[in-house]
């Protein structure tokens, strides 16, 4: 259940961030792209959280109960995906770093046989994330190899977010148990693959890969940045204000 919550929360929190862009993207095509990615992520959220909720040892929960009635510390998403949108380059950098990880993770999940429900969800997600990863990579390259302004902006976006990348590969008990069972990928192997893809895109974008410094973690255990609380307050306002109401 913990592993599924992590998958669902990553998707939900990132979708929520992307939803904030609606109507404000640099071009109409990007309004369509960003809402489309958010829409895919909400679909993944619904599937993962429904499955996670059905496995709750105390009492089965719906996807909406998990999304709208948990508090900050109960959310298990990566710190990376809750970071605020910033400018378009910041959003693209966040998306790029996450997409490459999410794609490798979903590819593993789709192939494993420990949990066939999760495999079915991941198989659909893989097709979606391939598009997301292509979209964010292409923008990294365009911005990196575009104008000098876009180059310095996107370099700074990547530098700023780099400290949140370590958390994706910092294996804890859930990851280790999941990996032994076969459900989850081995994160150190995943990191090697992620490095290759990230480096390939950064080189093409004429960008410099930041050095690994101190990494920020905590999301997986529910210790978040200040960004998450305000996001959840906004997201959860209606179900919290009208307990028990259906929408």
């Amino acid at each position: 259940m913990h592993a599924l919550l992590r998958l669902g929360d990553d998707a939900l929190v990132l979708a929520q961030r992307l939803g904030e862009w609606c109507g404000h993207a640099p071009a109409l095509e990007e309004d369509i792209a960003l809402t489309n990615i958010a829409l895919d992520l909400i679909g993944q959220t619904q599937s993962y959280l429904t499955l996670a909720g059905s496995l709750d040892p105390d009492a089965p929960k719906t996807d909406d109960e998990l999304a709208f009635l948990r508090s900050e510390s109960e959310f298990k998403n990566l710190l990376l995906v809750e970071q605020s949108n910033g400018h378009f380059g910041d959003t693209i950098a966040r998306q790029f770093l996450f997409d490459q990880y999410a794609l490798l993770r979903a590819e593993h999940l789709a192939q494993q046989t420990f949990d066939l429900d999760a495999a079915a969800i991941a198989a659909k997600a893989v097709k979606e994330i391939r598009y997301h990863a292509a979209h964010s990579s292409k923008w990294i390259i365009r911005l990196g190899d575009g104008t000098s302004e876009s180059h310095s902006r996107i370099q700074k976006s990547i530098d700023d977010l780099w400290a949140f990348t370590g958390e994706m590969f910092a294996a804890d008990d859930v990851d280790i148990a999941g990996s032994i069972a076969g459900l989850l990928p081995d994160l150190s192997a995943l990191k090697t693959q992620w490095d290759v893809e990230i480096d390939r895109v950064l080189v093409e974008a004429t960008l410099i890969r930041p050095k690994d410094g101190a990494m920020k973690t905590g999301g997986r255990t529910g210790v978040h940045t200040e960004e998450l609380g305000t996001m959840l307050a906004e997201m959860q306002i209606l179900p919290r204000t009208h307990p028990g109401a259906s929408w």
Binding site: Q16, G19, G23, I237, A245
Partner: protein, 312 residues
């Protein structure tokens, strides 16, 4: 030369009168071209500005399913904007120039989006009434004499019909809910009903563009005819879910086979068009900010593409 023009004009009129489609490379009178550019681009602008009031509720949609539906709907609207701009471009204008006219305040967009979306029920009311009125206006445009516009509208209308149903479904769900939810729904209907009726434009006697557009088969029904249809369609839908129409003068008129309804506050209508609606300033500032903030991104995309082209 004058004779040729005269001949072309007669041929054009006969073609349109026979209900045939005019295509981009066909000869057309300048006024026909201008009126289409104005109408199609205003329509495109309305789709783009229309994303803003609903976009504000994506982050607050009360369930995952509603969030997904709203995202899909707003995404459709961006898509409508995109292919309407493309339809306008077939008439020899450039999308960037059209967008500049919107941002400078020179071009108009539907005034309805200058009203604020205050509660979740507004998302229901916008879908049900605003998109409902839009469909009423737009279905006849699928048979419009200009081919690219007619074809764009066929697709737009299919999607709008989904938008209207999702709006009504929100209202229906609210009316099945708690007292607070029912109040929310009624309040949204009260605020959106009259502005929705204004969407059909001034009364036939006051309308500036109507008669020529009817002759050109751009417009098929008068503003008042369409408004009457809207009223007759909406009243039973409201009754069915227990909403009260905010019009004391509304009653069924057996003789005309339709509803009589109260007088529209045309002062408000012209006031909002003149820029004095609650959100006129905010909507335009929002669009301008998005455009300005995105400039470095668009510049980068152009610079990148030029580098690629130079290398091949």
């Amino acid at each position: 030369m004058i004779e040729t023009q005269q001949h072309l004009r007669e041929e054009f009129d006969a073609y349109v009168a026979a209900d045939k489609k005019i295509e981009p490379k066909d000869w057309m009178p300048d006024a026909y071209r201008k009126t289409l550019i104005r109408q199609i681009s205003q329509h495109a602008h309305s789709e783009i500005v229309g994303m803003l009031p609903e976009g504000k509720w994506i982050t607050r949609a009360p369930s995952l399913q509603r969030k997904a539906i709203l995202l899909a709907k707003v995404q459709d609207e961006a898509g409508h904007g995109l292919y309407l701009y493309s339809a306008a471009e077939t008439l020899g204008v450039d999308r960037a120039d059209l967008v500049d006219d919107l941002l400078s305040g020179k071009a108009k967009y539907s005034s309805i989006f200058n009203y604020p979306s205050l509660t979740w029920a507004d998302i229901g009311a916008i879908g049900w009434l605003v998109d409902g009125a839009a469909i009423m206006n737009q279905v006849p445009l699928c048979r419009c004499s200009y081919g690219p516009y007619a074809r764009a509208m066929t697709r737009v209308c299919k999607e709008e019909s989904f938008h209207q149903r999702q709006g009504y479904s929100i209202m229906m769900q609210l009316m099945k809910g708690t007292d607070a939810q029912k109040e929310m729904a009624q309040d949204a209907l009260n605020r959106w009903w009259w502005p929705s009726l204004m969407m059909f434009g001034p009364s036939d006697s006051e309308s500036m563009h109507s008669s020529q557009n009817m002759k050109w088969n751009i417009k098929r029904f008068s503003n008042d005819e369409l408004r009457q249809r809207m009223v007759d369609m909406t009243v039973p839908q409201a009754e069915c879910i227990g909403l009260k129409m905010p019009d004391p003068d509304l009653k069924w008129n057996e003789e005309k086979g339709g509803h009589d309804f109260g007088e529209i506050d045309w002062t408000e209508f012209y006031d909002v068009i003149a820029g004095n609606g609650i959100c006129n300033k905010e909507r335009l500032e929002d669009r301008n900010k998005a455009h300005d903030d995105g400039e470095w991104v668009r510049d980068a995309a152009v610079a990148y593409s030029e580098k690629r082209n130079a290398n091949t």
